[in-house]
């Protein structure tokens, strides 16, 4: 593992005052954009990003350069949409970048817009991120003042408009097509694909939708080149990743690490679990991903290794659970989240999450029956791969993996007619 001597995405941790345009410029900010505009044709930038192996940091890990190259080439104006609707439980990396290093996001957006020939870009920011919204408003105003946004950026032929749009509090709007619906002012429901956003995205324009962290990767990448980016991580998963570590660790927070860091190393960075306790399970990539038991802690966080271990990197929201955790209560809480956030469009997600929540609440309360476990797994199977959008699949991953790895604990709840760990789900759940 290559140790980082400085931060590239969480630059504000090393440099004070970087949140303002002055501070950002003083640290060499916007030189990536200058380099892009002066030394690169747009297509060459796409090639550079392709060569770097940068993959989307929002959850799916799709190669960014490849995504850009899918844009319809029919002469219509394109659009860039930045997905800042960070809602995945356990994930809070974009929020830190937005609130403390906003100009790196804006610089990245300008680079991406130049590369994809998008005259307009949109930031869809989670409604609850009021502070981030205010920071971005300020930063965009500064960037306009500084000549980075507007007509003839830095005296070149590249002109650009940027729009900031607040979401209204729906997890589903982090799904790119629901985000586009919401951005256009409609109910945040996922759209039918095809057409994909690259053909008909926001307002019907060919659109790239990228995550905040993905975009924030661009300024250092352009400045330093593809090989620089590839010095970290693995062949297929190169680069750096901001991991949000939460749960039973001494120092929960964001950690910018190379993509070949192991889960154990990550937990150590965060100060380890509570003294005297052991890791019971880890969700490596936000609550939509299956959990990994303690035996898998030496897995590297790169996309491929985590899939092989039975989970996924997702958004990088690493939730650490020690041995005081009641897995049944955790599952019940997480599935309840998906029930509440299901948009209601498709049947299996809408009804299935409701059903699972009820059964899990009953189980946790000691009122379960043994065949409830089979029912839960069968309901999960009837959702998985059958829902309209990934939210349905997301709602079952954690539960299915929990029943697989901790079936005994579920059975104990049923046979013992109570929670053996004394978890008090109903004290924490707001009905």
């Amino acid at each position: 593992m290559k140790k980082l001597d400085r931060h590239y995405l969480l630059r504000h941790r090393d440099v004070a005052g970087i949140g303002t345009l002055k501070g950002y410029e003083a640290d060499g900010g916007y030189s990536g954009l200058k380099k892009a505009l002066s030394e690169f044709e747009p297509d060459a930038l796409v090639d550079l990003v392709k060569a770097s192996g940068l993959r989307g940091r929002g959850g799916a890990g799709f190669p960014t350069g490849l995504k850009w190259s899918f844009l319809a080439k029919d002469g219509r104006p394109r659009a860039l949409v930045v997905n800042a609707d960070e809602g995945e439980p356990g994930t809070f990396k974009d929020r830190e970048i937005i609130e403390h290093n906003p100009h790196q996001l804006i610089e990245g957006m300008l680079i991406a817009s130049y590369a994809t020939r998008a005259p307009e870009s949109f930031i869809y920011i989670r409604g609850e991120f009021l502070r981030g919204y205010e920071v971005l408003q300020q930063a965009i105003a500064e960037a306009m003042e500084g000549g980075y946004i507007g007509d003839k950026v830095l005296g070149t032929d590249f002109s650009h408009r940027m729009y900031l749009y607040r979401g209204a509090g729906a997890y589903i709007c982090g799904e790119e097509s629901a985000l586009l619906e919401s951005l256009e002012g409609r109910r945040g429901n996922p759209r039918l694909k095809p057409p994909f956003p690259a053909v008909a995205g926001v307002y019907g324009l060919p659109t790239v939708v990228n995550n905040v962290e993905t975009i924030a990767n661009l300024p250092p990448l352009i400045l330093n080149g593809a090989e620089w980016h590839r010095q970290w991580g693995t062949e297929k998963s190169p680069g750096l990743k901001v991991m949000s570590v939460s749960g039973h660790v001494a120092r929960p927070g964001n950690y910018e690490v190379p993509l070949d860091t192991t889960l154990r190393e990550l937990i150590e960075m965060a100060g380890g679990v509570t003294p005297g306790h052991q890791v019971k399970a880890v969700i490596p990539g936000g609550s939509s991903m299956p959990l990994l038991p303690a035996s898998k802690l030496d897995t590297s966080i790169d996309y491929e290794s985590l899939v092989q271990a039975g989970s996924m990197l997702g958004s990088g929201g690493c939730i650490v659970m020690d041995d005081t955790t009641c897995i049944v209560a955790a599952v019940a809480r997480v599935v309840r989240f998906y029930r509440d956030e299901s948009c209601g469009k498709c049947t299996p997600c809408r009804e299935g999450t409701y059903w699972m929540t009820d059964v899990l609440d009953r189980l946790e309360g000691g009122l379960g029956e043994l065949d409830d476990l089979d029912t839960l797994l069968d309901v999960a199977d009837n959702i998985n791969g059958k829902a309209f959008c990934p939210l349905g699949d997301a709602s079952v991953g954690f539960m299915v993996s929990a029943i697989r790895h901790f079936r005994d604990e579920f059975v104990e709840h049923i046979t013992g007619r109570t929670c053996p760990l004394g978890a008090r789900l109903y004290d924490t759940v707001n009905y």
């Binding site: 729906a170 589903i172 109910r187 039918l192 029930r339 509440d340 956030e341 299901s342 948009c343 209601g344 469009k345 498709c346 049947t347 299996p348 809408r350 009804e351 299935g352 999450t353 409701y354 059903w355 009820d358 059964v359 009953r362 029912t375 069968d378 309901v379 199977d381 009837n382 791969g385 059958k386 829902a387 309209f388």
Partner: protein, 768 residues
């Protein structure tokens, strides 16, 4: 073409066909809720999951386009499990109230669960309770518990109709279908959501708890309320019509407008004629027919056959029109027979178009008519064609004819100026002699009209919707058709009565002049007996004064029909006839297409089929009609359409009509047209939304009159004539004009002699 295999059967379908539709072509039924061909794929309900080889997971057949070599399994283990799972999900919050559900027995949830679902429920938790009978309009209740959230209703109104009045509220499992809070659904197409709902969630309030599928008669019919003749199904119970539903047919979606759908009860309306009257005294219908026959015989003996005249109102079935024609020829022997229609123009029948031709047209002209009001379902078709393939819509009228939901280009001209404008526009774009002849003496078209002329003359295929006003338009239309040469020029008449083209098929003259002469003769005392069959000349004939004089001066006027006409006091006798849905009969719609509508109810009281009454009259006359029922309405028709004569009209110059030439500054100009929302048959059900203010004016004009809240009662005066009418605001009426629809009982615009009118606010008078 794409070839694919579905359950071992090979299907060949056009590119872009969804798997669900490809399956249907080889007789494989894939269950669907959210998918509807008119609305396009959505992918929400997931009931159509199928297994497709080489695809990692089950796919929804409604959102997956067929590709070459695709192998689809609809009955594989995985597909069956997926489907069963979806049905189970749909049921977990669905109440078990099928026994009291209006939809019970005709419900796709019942059907599919029976066919594909599990026999036993595993869900043991509490079901969510929601609104059961939530009214979103006077006609529609939502049972939110039964809803499967397929969004057909939301998408139909919001996207297809363009009137976003239903929406999804809440999220996740708490999502419900509802209206905008406090704003009821008002779209005249709202009733279609009842038909579209695959389950018992959207209910017809008038039909609520009225009948079950196994104790009704459900027969194929066509709507009777406007000349479109929408395919529909009529539900009868205990001899009464209790419901009308849209009926999809090949090429038509089965939409109805609410004016047609909810007027189904007109046959039992209190004003229905259900007993015979002679000199206002009730008699049996047999007795009345007997007396009528004897009187006719006496008159013919004394004054000759032409002392008897027959006028049809064009609402009875084709078989009745045939009987009337034969009655005139073979029994009475009179040559005086005609049709009372509410317009003074005669459509050159050679130009009569079809809906299929409309769908082939690249340009449509709305000529004086707003199809949303006159033939509502045609408006839906136009909107679909605009959205689907960019049909160009042009409009020429004396008011704004386009609307938010139907975009195009429009020209608003002076009242009475449409014919001159069309002729000038045509002449500006064509040097055809007829085009020049029609425009002789007219001012040359200005620049904007030239654009209209070019669009019309150069269109590949043109369909014109015309409401029959301005007789001079006939010449302008023929000139346009000639100028267009071989390219199709078709006219769809949007005026009523519903079945006037049946008179054409039956050989009854339908021209204005024939009827005007009959009425003149009656007014001049040359006619002793006038027989009105469904005709209401005082209300409908464009020269209302002449009609009134005719009824006053003719010694004996008899009426046969469903509702008493205006001037009923002047009648010597009335005979109640059977109405729509009370017998099987043939209608001819605005395309000239024959449509056989079946009966599902009984005629109330003494009402009898026209043919039976006429036969009694003929026997009393001493000359019974022979083999009346052997006549075949379809004989000699081509593809079920009446045979159209060739276009023979000679074109002479269009004159600026008198109306257009006046220009006295007396206040307002009266304009008119057709609005089925106010002219449909009397109905207690449809009364819930019946517009009581048929007249319309620009909101600013209303405000200037002191009617600040956008509606009121006004008196319309012209010379020594005046009438009162309710008026409401409509920004599509130009300033200085007042729109009053034709054919409204009690609103005699046909008795004004000039279109220059004064409008005054009238006091509301409490009805006695």
């Amino acid at each position: 073409m794409i070839r694919l295999t579905i359950d071992g059967r090979e299907a060949t379908v056009p590119e872009g066909t969804m798997v669900v539709d490809a399956a249907a072509t080889v007789g494989i039924d894939i269950p669907i809720y959210c998918y509807h061909q008119a609305l396009g794929p959505l992918g929400a309900c997931r009931i159509c999951l199928v297994e497709i080889e080489k695809m990692p997971k089950l796919m929804t057949a409604c959102t997956t386009a067929a590709t070459d070599g695709m192998v689809v399994h609809t009955q594989s283990k995985a597909a069956e499990k997926g489907r069963r799972g979806i049905l189970e999900f749909l049921l977990i919050n669905h109440p078990l109230d099928c026994p009291i559900c209006d939809k019970g027995g005709e419900c796709f949830l019942q059907d599919y669960v029976f066919q594909y679902g599990a026999g036993q429920a595993r869900f043991e938790e509490a079901k969510i309770q929601r609104h059961k009978e939530y009214p979103v309009s006077p006609y529609i209740l939502v049972d939110q518990e039964r809803c499967v959230l397929c969004q057909r209703c939301v998408r139909f109104l919001g996207e297809y109709v363009g009137e976003e009045q239903l929406l999804m509220d809440g999220r996740g499992v708490h999502t419900v279908i509802t209206n905008v809070p406090g704003i009821p659904v008002t779209s005249p197409f709202s009733g279609n959501v009842i038909d579209l709902c695959p389950v018992g969630a959207l209910l017809s309030e008038p039909y609520h708890y009225r009948a079950r599928p196994w104790n009704i008669e459900r027969e194929e019919t066509y709507c009777s309320q406007c000349p479109v003749g929408c395919p529909s199904s009529v539900t009868g119970r205990d001899g009464q019509v209790v419901r009308l539903e849209g009926r999809p047919t090949p090429g038509q979606w089965g939409w109805l407008c609410d004016h047609g759908r909810f007027t189904y009860d007109f046959g039992t309306h209190p004003t229905r004629l259900t007993e015979a009257l002679l000199d206002a005294n009730p008699v049996t219908v047999g007795r009345a027919a007997q007396v009528l026959g004897e009187r006719l015989a006496a008159v013919v003996r004394e004054h000759g056959a032409d002392a008897v005249a027959i006028l049809t109102g064009g609402s009875h079935i084709l078989e009745d029109h045939h009987a009337l024609r034969r009655f005139a020829d073979e029994v009475v022997g009179t040559s005086r027979i005609g049709l009372v229609k509410p317009v003074e123009s005669d459509l050159p029948l050679a130009l009569l178009g079809t809906f299929a031709e409309l769908e082939q047209s690249d340009t449509v002209l709305l000529l004086g008519t707003d199809p949303y009001e006159s033939v509502p379902v045609v408006h839906l078709g136009l909107r679909e064609q605009v959205r689907k393939r960019g049909l160009r819509v042009k409009a020429l009228g004396d008011r704004h004819l386009l609307r938010e939901t139907l975009a195009g280009e429009e020209w608003v001209v002076e009242p009475g100026g449409m014919a001159a404008a069309l002729a000038a526009a045509t002449a500006a774009a064509s040097s055809h002699p007829d085009a020049r002849r029609a425009a002789e003496g007219l001012d040359p078209a200005d620049e904007s009209l030239t654009g209209l002329g070019q669009a019309l003359v150069e269109a590949d295929a043109l369909t014109i919707l015309w409401d029959g006003r301005e007789p001079d338009l006939v010449r302008a239309l023929v000139a346009l058709a000639r100028a267009r040469g071989d390219r199709a020029t078709r006219v769809l008449p949007t005026f009523g009565p519903r079945n006037w083209l049946a008179a054409v098929r039956a050989g009854i003259p339908t021209d204005y002049e024939t009827t005007r002469r009959i009425l003149m003769d009656a007014a001049d005392g040359r006619i002793q007996v006038l027989l009105l069959w469904g005709a209401d000349p005082i209300r409908d004939f464009p020269d209302g004064d002449l009609a009134a004089r005719a009824l006053e001066r003719c010694p004996e006027v008899y009426f046969g029909g469903v509702f008493p006409p205006e001037g009923a006091k002047l009648l010597a006798g009335m005979l109640p006839t059977a109405a729509w849905a009370e017998e099987t009969g043939t209608y001819v719609n605005m395309e000239g297409r024959l449509q056989t509508a079946h009966g599902a109810a009984s005629a109330p009281g003494q009402a009898r089929p026209t043919r039976s009454i006429l036969q009694t009259v003929a026997r009393a006359f001493g000359s019974p009609l022979r083999r009346l029922d052997e006549w075949d309405p379809y004989e000699g028709t081509v593809e079920d359409r009446v045979v159209l004569p060739p276009l023979e009209e000679t074109v002479t110059s269009v004159s600026r009509s008198e109306a257009a030439q006046t220009g006295k500054d007396s206040g307002f100009r009266l304009i008119s047209g057709f609005d089925v929302a106010v002219t449909h048959d009397p109905s207690e059900v449809a009364a819930r939304t019946k517009e009581e203010r048929p007249a319309r004016m620009h909101p600013q004009d209303l405000e200037d009159l002191g009617l600040q809240d956008g509606s009121g009662l006004v008196q319309i005066l012209s010379g020594d004539r005046s009438f009162r009418v309710g008026v409401r605001s409509d920004p599509r009426i130009p300033r200085g004009r007042v729109f009053v629809p034709r054919g409204v009982t009690g609103v005699p615009i046909n008795r004004l002699t000039t279109t220059d009118v004064a409008v005054r606010v009238a006091e509301e008078v409490a009805s006695r």
